[in-house]
Amino acid sequence: MAHAHAHTVKRYKGLMDWLTTVDHKKIGILYLLAGGFFFLVGGLEAIMIRIQLIKPLNDFVSAEKFNQLLTMHGTTMIFLAAMPMLFALMNAVIPLQIGARDVAFPFVNALGFWTFFAGGVLLNVSWFTGGAPDAGWTSYVPLASPTYSPEYGVDYYVIGLQIAGIGTLIGGINFLVTIINMRAPGMTFMRMPMFTWAIFITSALILFAFPALTVGLVALMFDRLFEANFFEVANGGNAVLWEHIFWIFGHPEVYILILPAFGVISEVISTFSRKRLFGYSSMVFATVLIGFLGFMVWAHHMFTTGLGPVANALFSIATMLIAVPTGIKIFNWLFTMWGGSIKFTTANLFAVGFIPTFVMGGVTGVMLAAAPADFQYHDSYFVVAHFHYVIVGGLILGIFSGLHYWWPKMFGRMLNETLGKLTFWTFFIGFHMTFLIQHFLGLMGMPRRIYTYLDGLGFNNMNLISTIGAFLMGLGTIFFILNIIVTSVSGKKAAGDAWEDGRTLEWTIPSPAPEYNFAQTPLVRGYDAFWKEKMDGHKEMTPAEPLGSIHMPSPSILPLFMSIGLFIAGLGFMYHNYYVGGGGLALTFLCMLIRSLKDDHGFHIEPDELHDKGVKA
């Protein structure tokens, strides 16, 4: 994409371009590649779990291996698949939606990706060094303590997640600053697209939630590596403390995952209904409220821990309250479609399928909120069914919807609709087949996280059905990969306004977006800025500035090396090899020093180098 120009900054090509890029669009694609890869890994783990449970007393995997699989499935899907794929959409879309040329801190953005990737790879290295973590994705102590997990598995969890967590935290801060400071002229907060609002609130949640996880992980790391006693009961530590710290992070994490999906659904449904989002201001209010309440309910994961009736009652009621703003969102989506002209593209199929599916996950959430009844549901397959309805039926359907919707903007080609619909129907039917029945398994007494079950308990048929459903979901994913391959070979080129009904700023520029996004920053005259111009008979946005040279950040290899340094340091400290550990940290600090001392003013793209003169529709 880069053309010859008269500046001294080195421009890379090929692999080096991807390793050094600070362009949010390319970083978005990197997040998608890495997140997609881990999604396949986590999916494979899920399939293995379901094969093991296909019949009673099966011996497809051993008990130890099964615990590793369930731990890594959860950890991978949450931290290494779902979050990066959300970051992929954030990176690909947010700067375009707010009319910005990049995020506030492009270098930090690249660093965020590479630290996440280093942490993710480190976690999965454990498979080849004697066993993955096996104490569950919640890593409850004392099971995760050095006494009961003396192997290295949990160390990989503790250190891998710390490194990946740095990436998430700085990513969240970056998007907070970007959304606050870099909106195009005229785009007030109450004119921001709903997806941008969702990411804004999500970033705030990341800012407050992830430090709690980091604190917990550091404490556990000290227990494991340096014989500290934060959670060692015999020496005066407290195991319940870990549960609190974990869920003070863990519950907001649920909303960090689902709010972006809410944002995607809002955009897709509005676009393909050709209608303004119904009740925009109440949607914004509901999102803020969900984000706020999300921090007030962590102990509902701990009703059986023994907090006493006062705490259980308060957390029951607080949890139920979240149903109100969530309900507001559901009905606003339905009434956005009401009276609209609904086109069922694949993206919209996923969005429309999301609504009833997510409601089913939501209502079981309210059921779980009733503490005395939760004594029965807790840690049974009912809970497994519930959170898969929310995370797969909510978040993953949302991500699929968003990927199909923004694919043309990210890659310049339209995904194949036939394959897309095949993806939707196999995945959707497979999903309900896998998880609906698990509610009943749980109610009939099947605990979660069990590597096998005895014969004659009445669990056999339902588990068989569930496993068949899991294979269908796998098939759906294969169709999606097939679609990507077919599209990249012979896909239809996408127009700027790829869906013809685009409402927001990203559809005013070519697909894929040029390096500098907007040749001229657009002037935003209302909510649904592009739609407003179209309705007023304009073909393009009014520019807010004259055509001029565009200041761009320089690419850098430093973020990659900083992350490699952390990766080495993590491995070194884990195996108590302090030379290697110190060396890794030294590499990271050296990169930081270079970054601080070296002046780099970036470069400029002059008006005559622009692909498109002026802002086009």
Binding site: A63, Y140, T304, G306, N332, I342, Q376, L457
Partner: protein
Amino acid sequence: MMKRWNVGKRLLPLFAGMMLLLSACGRADLSTLNPQGPVAEEQFGLMKLAISIMIIVVVIVFAISLYVIVRFRRRPGDNKIPVQVEGNHKLEIIWTVIPLILLVILGVPTVNSVFGLSKDYTKDPDAIQVEVTSHQFWWEFYYPQYDIHTAQELVIPTGKKIAVTAVSGDVLHSFWIPSLAGKIDTNPGTAVENGTANANKMYFEAPKAGVYLGKCAELCGPSHALMDFKVKAVDEASFDRWTAAQKTPVALPSDPAIKDALVKNCLSCHAIGDQGVLVYPNLTDIGSRLTVGGILVNTDEAEYANEGTTYENLKRWIEDPQAVKPGTLMPKVELTEQEIDGIAKYLSELKIDYEK
């Protein structure tokens, strides 16, 4: 008006069918949907209330979704721009207030139940006190009123409140008898006698005699899946016979070679009657228990892979504990074939005949 009546007429059979389905679901000794005691019944009542409210919500959302999808789909060649509605205050208020009302309907009985089920019977002299201690991967039950230690099988009298104090000897576990009561975690903490730390309390009751399946519900290591136990509810007279029999002395094997092997290998960790030590499961009445290790079901008509006679199961367990329960602390003891046979035979005959 007519329309609403119709909706009601259609929903009622749906609810009735749903309730029927729920109450018929699962084994009576295992399913939360088939409660066998007042605590599980109260929890099931709350579940039914919640499910009913949620079905109303789901049906409404599904109905609107279906209507919208069918009615407002874009026909080919349709290029009209729909009216760009901004919102509707009346509707927003409706779908804010109605959920709030539904939550009050669910919230009041919830809070009521939270406090009701947290009632403390541990000081009640009429209740049977049981101190539950969980271990990787077995359950220890101590009856302080009778000074009886037992394992894997909780024998209780029918119709009495059972007051449980639960702690863990190692990692977190969760004590769950689905058909009698919801679960409570067992936290590691200081000894129960101090009454401090993270000991948890709960109570339950079994009005009907019978056997109920118990499960561990918190990931606790490799054999978490196999950490089952049984609750055996018997009439009060039988219970009294059981407690009395626990105190009577037990004879060791008559064959001196077997006796020697037993004392040297088994009784260094286990207890039989007044002999041995109480570190690991008490074997005093192991021959009359329903299972070996909580999962090998003792029966003369074996149907499944985990079933066999008491003798066969004991033999299978002693021969290779790791093959039955991966990660168990029970070692594979060096014993001759005859010794294993003799010990298994002796143990399978350690019976207390208390059910008349």
